[in-house]
């Protein structure tokens, strides 16, 4: 089932660092909605959650499954090859390599040529490499990065680098895309562009997105489903409307001011909410 393969389920997830619970008995299942968000103050356990999903952090207790298949016990690159891609809050790019090279890195999991054959560069390896470069070219086009394809990443502005990072995750053709603060440090125009990009990609591909983001305008505009964490515990889970009116969430995170100003924002009309994000930033 295509839909099933995108469904992420977390049960009783607990991660303890020397007695401190980074995550404490967190359970949730993301339904087949397309864009979900995890929010919470700093130290709420958002990054730990991402690390458990990608296999970088082994939980103390609990399970993580994707499409019904347990992710625990798998090595991170195997999880990645199962269709889970992520971006990093602090850019994790190769500054001295080109945009294309950086993005190509996400594509090697789709290479079938063996390592030795790849090294010897036989005709099959060459054909395959050409195909991968074409695929990368397509994504770069979609991201508006095509003109910068052969530029070194270190010469590019921050906002563009963020897009390069996103493109690297997209070429993996993910089933589940984890975005870690994709909007951090961007100006409002860039935020709008990136939101559009994510929406367009989700429209065209069979993919679920789970994002951590601090910008509430972006969250409310993009996410159809929100999980709220606070001090390692899940305090709320629901649609933006439900979450926004949850008294626990208001107390822990959102604050009364936010509730009043955003009250009349439309929830599911995505184009409209993007529009709104744009206006709110200006």
């Amino acid at each position: 089932m295509a839909a099933d393969s995108r469904i992420l389920a977390v049960e009783n997830l607990t991660v303890t660092f020397g007695g401190v619970h980074a995550l404490n008995d967190v359970s949730f299942t993301l339904s087949a909605r397309r864009i979900a968000a995890v929010i919470g103050p700093n130290g709420a356990g958002k990054s730990t959650l991402f690390n458990c999903i990608t296999g970088v952090q082994r939980p103390t207790r609990g399970t993580v499954t994707c499409g019904g298949r347990s992710l625990l016990g798998q090595r991170p690159h195997q999880i990645a090859r199962q269709g889970i891609a992520r971006t990093f809050q602090n850019l994790a790019l190769l500054p001295e390599s080109t945009v294309e090279e950086n993005v190509l890195l996400g594509r090697y999991q789709h290479t079938r040529t063996g390592m030795l054959a790849g090294m010897l560069r036989g005709p099959r390896a060459r054909r395959e490499e050409r195909e991968q470069r074409e695929y990368v070219g397509g994504i770069l086009e979609d991201c508006g990065l095509a003109p910068l394809r052969y530029e070194e990443v270190r010469s590019l502005p921050y906002g563009v680098r963020k897009k390069v990072e996103l493109a690297r995750a997209l070429v993996q053709d993910p089933k589940l895309l984890l975005l870690d603060e994709p909007m951090a440090g961007m100006d409002s125009r860039e935020k709008a562009e990136l939101s559009d990009l994510v929406l367009r990609y989700v429209d065209d591909h069979d993919v679920n997105v789970l994002m951590v983001e601090h910008d509430m305008n972006v969250i409310m505009g993009l996410a159809e489903e929100i999980v709220v964490l606070d001090f390692g515990r899940k305090i709320a889970h629901g649609t933006p409307g439900e979450v926004r009116n949850d008294p626990l969430v208001i107390e822990a995170y959102l604050g009364a001011e936010f509730q009043s100003t955003e009250e009349d924002a439309p929830e599911h009309e995505l184009a409209q909410s993007t529009q709104q994000t744009r206006q709110a930033g200006e």
Binding site: P76, A80, A85, L104, L105, G118, M119
Partner: protein, 289 residues
């Protein structure tokens, strides 16, 4: 003047070999974070293997090819059998493992071959040519040529091939690379294999121009300063460092003494560490520890 030029050429030739060894060290360090203290033993092992393969196969050329195939496979095996199980353990433990591996390889060489130095009569000629008043050994020119070709090929591999890109990625952005689906363990294996290949090339060159003895392992001791002087994070730096050390050594030897040569090399090392801790071509951000 003629003797000065001769000493410079000798220094560049010797330094090219240091450079090959130093790149192997830097490559493995950069991609795995492990400083492989058994690298010198790989050089010595390659040289000894060359002597027995020459005896077995009858032809020096054939034996050279065989060594260049076998030793990288050994390097990959070392990764899977010894280094990989150490992954995730404290770095010091892994480094100690490589020291232990070095001692074990040294013992293995002594058990298999005994303490006597051996000779390899390879295809590299041992005569000299006169260029004007300067007499230059053909083997030095060949050594420099082979080292340059190796360095160019290695540079192309590292910057142009997909494996090279993955290697750079794992070295610089490990988590992101793995989460992009790169199999880091396999990349580490390739790094050990390529490192061993460079050690094998150095072993073959040394067997042809020097004496095959377990002392060749000590080469790593002089390659370490080359690595540090050039910059531990820089492949080009390793080459520059290697050649610089080779030339310094020969000039110090010629104008002072061989003992002074070692002192000069380490004095330069100290100066570099004080003035430019990241090495001549190293970058500050890439310094790990």
């Amino acid at each position: 003047m003629a003797s000065f030029i001769q000493d410079i050429v000798s220094g560049i030739a010797t330094g090219s070999i240091y450079g090959l060894v130093a790149i192997g060290l830097v490559l493995v360090y950069k991609s795995t974070g492990v400083f492989n203290f058994a690298h010198g033993e790989f050089v010595a092992l390659s040289a000894f293997l060359l002597t027995s393969l020459t005896a077995a196969l009858g032809a020096g050329w054939l034996a050279i090819v065989a060594v260049l195939v076998i030793v990288p496979i050994l390097g990959v095996l070392v990764h899977y059998l010894i280094i990989r199980p150490m992954m995730g353990k404290p770095l010091l433990a892994t480094v100690m493992t490589t020291i232990g591996l070095g001692l074990a390889l040294r013992a293995l060489i002594l058990i298999l071959y005994g303490p006597d130095p051996r000779q390899f009569d390879g295809p590299i000629p041992s005569n000299a040519v006169d260029i004007g008043s300067v007499r230059i050994a053909v083997s030095d020119l060949l050594t420099i040529g082979i080292a340059v070709v190796c360095l160019l090929l290695f540079g192309l591999f590292f910057t142009r091939s997909s494996l090279g890109l993955q290697m750079r990625a794992v070295a610089n952005q490990m988590e992101a690379s793995i989460l992009s689906g790169v199999n880091a363990s396999r990349i580490y294996a390739v790094a050990f294999g390529v490192g061993a290949l460079l050690a094998a090339v150095a072993g073959v060159l040394l067997a042809s121009t020097s004496v095959v003895s377990v002392q060749l392992s000590n080469l790593a001791l002089i390659a370490f300063p080359a690595v540090i002087i050039g910059g531990i994070s820089s492949v080009q730096g390793a080459i520059v460092g290697g050649i610089l050390v080779g030339v310094l050594e020969k000039l110090a030897e010629a104008y002072a003494s061989q003992q002074a040569a070692i002192a000069v090399v380490y004095a330069v090392l100290l100066a570099v560490l004080l003035l430019r801790p990241q090495g001549i071509l190293g970058t500050r951000e890439a310094m790990r520890a």
